[in-house]
Symmetry: none
DNA sequence: GACGAGATCGCAGGGATAGTTT
DNA sequence: CCAAACTATCCCTGCGATCTCG
């Protein structure tokens, strides 16, 4: 048996999940965590049935996106979707992303301009953010992946987006 | 804080879900159970009570640090935190640290440059100090450990920092 | 600062490793 | 002479932004 410390509120929550008198913490937690830890196979089925990444699925299958042949526009559309999916997480990921000299994303167009010699900032529509655009496709892809990963988005979803993004 | 008992296996499972060094059980469980984290205010109060190394814990769990993939930047961030934790102690540790020829830290960039042939001094942002950067990872780690040790920082904390620092 | 997108290529920085000193 | 400690050369990668092409 191991002992762990948890805060009062969480303790109350766990205690409230007791199924029968005298059920121990391990038993409760195992039950609760099982629900959240389905097998890989199950996860995929669930993902297909009802993903909690609905905004991306919607975007990826939308005509606006699929009909959009330019990398840049798909790039902006994706960033916009990411922001709207979770602005707070996006903000964190965005501010911590940079190259050796250039800042890749910021709310301030000027900041991007002054962080390099010819960064060509572009507004991310539907968003207070701007992105650098003077990069090759590989770097645009890296930016997307990096943001998604920092936002804690699943590997599977990232791959899906990557596939849809590339030509 | 409440204490609960769980079996070994479950403990290992939970420990394995750690997202960043020093994350506590409550935080991990809340993430897994999809419960909201307690408010920042609450967390800080607890943190202050629990550890007098708050600045390091803060840094190590900050997004700026955890999202930073380059060794050099993590190195600088740590030194900056160490200085701000206690400038006086840092000063003592810094001036007494050196190799056989090179001075590792100084307030004066030039001093570092002239103490070796290609030391590549880097400014420690938020600090009047500079560090040598032309070293391998092992030496950077040694510099961090050495400074912390000289500053009288606990073994446990040093280990925690080391873990967070290395790739 | 006004054509825009992005591939290509050159340069800089990071740090492993070969080499030197103690 | 060997080992350990330390240095800094130099290779390699990652990044920037010029330049080409639509």
């Amino acid at each position: 048996m191991k002992t762990i410390e948890i805060d009062e509120e969480l303790y109350q929550f766990i205690a409230g999940q007791t199924k029968h008198i005298g059920e121990n913490a391990s038993s409760i937690l195992r039950r609760l965590l099982k629900i959240d830890q389905p097998t890989l196979a199950k996860q995929n089925i669930t993902a297909q049935k009802e993903s909690h990444y609905t905004p991306f699925n919607d975007l990826l299958t939308s005509d606006t996106f699929t009909n959009e042949k330019s990398i840049i526009n798909r790039f902006i559309l994706l960033l916009s979707a990411l922001y709207n999916y979770n602005p707070a997480l996006f903000a964190i990921a965005a501010t911590s992303l940079h190259g050796s000299k250039r800042q890749y994303l910021a709310k301030d167009k000027q900041l991007l301009e002054t962080s390099g010699k010819n960064t060509k900032p572009r507004e991310i529509i539907g968003t207070p953010y701007w992105v650098i655009s003077n990069t090759n496709t590989a770097r645009k892809q890296y930016i997307i992946e990096s943001i998604m990963s920092d936002m804690g988005i699943s590997e599977t979803m990232i791959n899906q987006v990557t596939n849809a993004f590339l030509p």
